[in-house]
């Protein structure tokens, strides 16, 4: 069965979630991956959106973080202050699933500006929930399209702390949670070096060469001692993803169905 690089990315990201995870879901790519996980190997996963929806089971992917679909299919919906205070800061969430505009080799994320803060070339949306999601969730998964302008040696702005600008700051601050443990792209899967926290290429997707990964990464990318090949999408995984996207496209156009 043929598949696209984008489908491989979403399915590889979905596989990282466990059935007993409680996951704080970012909008866009993370939302697609989390719902594929719920509809395949992890039917028991608890999905939480920052709009307040707890244990939601949307039939279609939401366009926004607060679509009515999320509330209608949730176990309960709490206020936004309660979500951030009791559920996130309270330490009840095992995985934060994030995207971003820029990532560096230590999993720090920028979603604030390209260029300087006062005179930005591009003003991006900003932090949203990401800053505290990355600090308070047990571990952080990142999913992003692989592009040299997005995978940069140095962020223009640290919106969200990964392991810190040199990989050591998170530990030095005494933040008890693990931080970024996984970065999935449309080319490969990164996992942090246990010593330095630098993201190393742990697996490449079928048909992708190490050279392509190098060319798409803005920093001098390093590879794990043994690089695996990602298991290609199974027919069942692809079917679930495509049906979800088709339902989503019927519900509100193709923009939300990526």
């Amino acid at each position: 069965m043929t598949y696209t690089a984008s489908e491989m990315m979403t399915i590889a990201a979905a596989r990282a979630l466990r059935n007993d995870d409680v996951c704080f879901v970012g909008i866009g790519l993370p939302s697609a991956a989390c719902n594929v996980a719920r509809l395949t190997h992890a039917p028991g996963v608890t999905l939480i959106y920052e709009s307040g929806a707890i244990a939601t089971r949307p039939r279609v992917l939401p366009l926004s973080i607060g679509d009515g679909e999320l509330c209608e299919t949730a176990l309960t919906t709490v206020s936004v202050p309660e979500m951030f205070r009791y559920w996130l800061q309270g330490g009840r969430i095992t995985v934060g699933f994030l995207g971003g505009a820029q990532v560096d080799r230590y999993g720090n994320l920028n979603s604030t500006v390209i260029g300087s803060y006062r005179r930005p070339t591009v003003r991006l949306p900003g932090a949203g929930g990401a800053t505290e999601i990355a600090a308070s969730c047990g571990r952080v998964f990142i999913v992003m399209r692989h592009h040299p302008r997005a995978f940069v040696p140095r962020l223009d702005f640290v919106t969200t702390l990964g392991h810190g600008p040199t990989g050591r700051e998170r530990r030095a601050l005494g933040i008890p949670t693990a931080g970024p443990v996984l970065l999935v792209t449309d080319l490969c899967i990164f996992e942090p070096d246990p010593e330095t926290n630098e993201f190393l290429v742990a697996a490449v997707h079928p048909g992708v060469t190490c050279r392509e990964v190098r060319e798409h990464t803005g920093w001098s990318v390093r590879f794990a001692a043994e690089v695996r090949e990602t298991e290609p999408p199974a027919a069942g995984e692809l079917e679930v993803l495509r049906e979800l996207q088709a339902r989503t496209a019927r519900a509100h156009g193709t923009a939300a169905a990526e």
Partner: protein
């Protein structure tokens, strides 16, 4: 005591040039009708406060209402940029826009502190990131019991909170449900408040004893404005017009297209008939 008024009268008496105004709604129940009336009455110099300044604040910024924005996420959800917001920040059009930028956790805590009558909010956040270096309202203090370094931001106390809700009863009490966001906190934190509603009912009828109800005596004005949250949604009344959110990207991309839209759909149109 919340009194029933016409939208134009309520905006005229509650929202003044230079006020700090929070039109809240977390994707759901966004008070578009009220925001459009603020644009029509050509308010200027406002400090706009909102966690998620989406299309409504893009319109108010592009229309020249705002001097400053206090916010935590300024995008078109699931679509991309807010072009009028970006134009104001990147090119100072139609006017420079001062930013006070936070994270969602900080804004949610700051509204809660405002509602609770506290001077500031204290929470665990902002560690190791750059926002504190560009926002002097983000500070750190040590927990007096454990010594842990905690983040603090001033309480939000808007001059006016504006929200949209499903129902008011004849006494002017207001019920909202679904994704309730920070609206209760915003109303209780504000000096004055305006609530637009889908309908006015004799009685709220059967409901959970824990339903979110704002008693009339914490509200300043209640306005009947059916459809007042469109193109966002009102749970139980109408769905989010996702196609409009997608279409907004092209409408707002350039200044002329935006102005033509505002002229036709906001300035050239009287308030919705109540």
């Amino acid at each position: 005591m919340g009194s029933f008024r016409k939208l134009s009268e309520a905006i005229a008496s509650l929202v003044h040039d230079g006020d700090s105004v929070a039109l809240e709604g977390f994707t759901h129940l966004i008070p578009f009708a009220a925001g459009h009336e603020i644009i029509r009455q050509r308010r200027r110099g406002l400090t706009l406060i909102r966690m998620t300044p989406d299309l409504l604040y893009d319109q108010m910024i592009g229309a020249g209402c705002a001097r400053k924005l206090v916010f935590s996420w300024g995008g078109n959800p699931g679509v991309g940029s807010l072009h009028r917001f970006r134009d104001a920040v990147e090119k100072q059009w139609p006017a420079p826009l001062e930013l006070e930028e936070h994270s969602h956790a900080a804004m949610a805590n700051a509204y809660t502190a405002g509602a609770a009558g506290m001077p500031c909010a204290i929470f665990r956040g902002y560690q190791g990131v750059d926002l504190p270096s560009v926002n002097s309202n983000i500070r750190f203090l040590a927990c007096p019991f454990t010594g842990e370094s905690l983040a603090s931001v001033p309480a939000l106390r808007p001059d006016v909170a504006v929200i949209h809700a499903q129902k008011a009863d004849r006494q002017g009490n207001v019920l909202l449900e679904g994704i309730v966001g920070v609206q209760k906190e915003a109303v209780l934190a504000a000096r004055r408040s305006l609530v637009t509603v889908e309908e006015v009912v004799d009685d709220f009828g059967p409901r959970s004893p824990n339903a979110v109800i704002l008693p009339s005596w914490v509200l300043t004005a209640v306005v009947l404005a059916p459809g007042g949250a469109r193109p966002s949604y009102a749970q139980g009344y109408y769905a989010r017009d996702n196609s409009f959110y997608v279409a907004w990207d092209a409408i707002a991309k350039d200044r002329a297209g935006f102005q033509a839209w505002i002229d036709e759909h906001v300035l050239g149109r009287a308030e919705l008939p109540a």
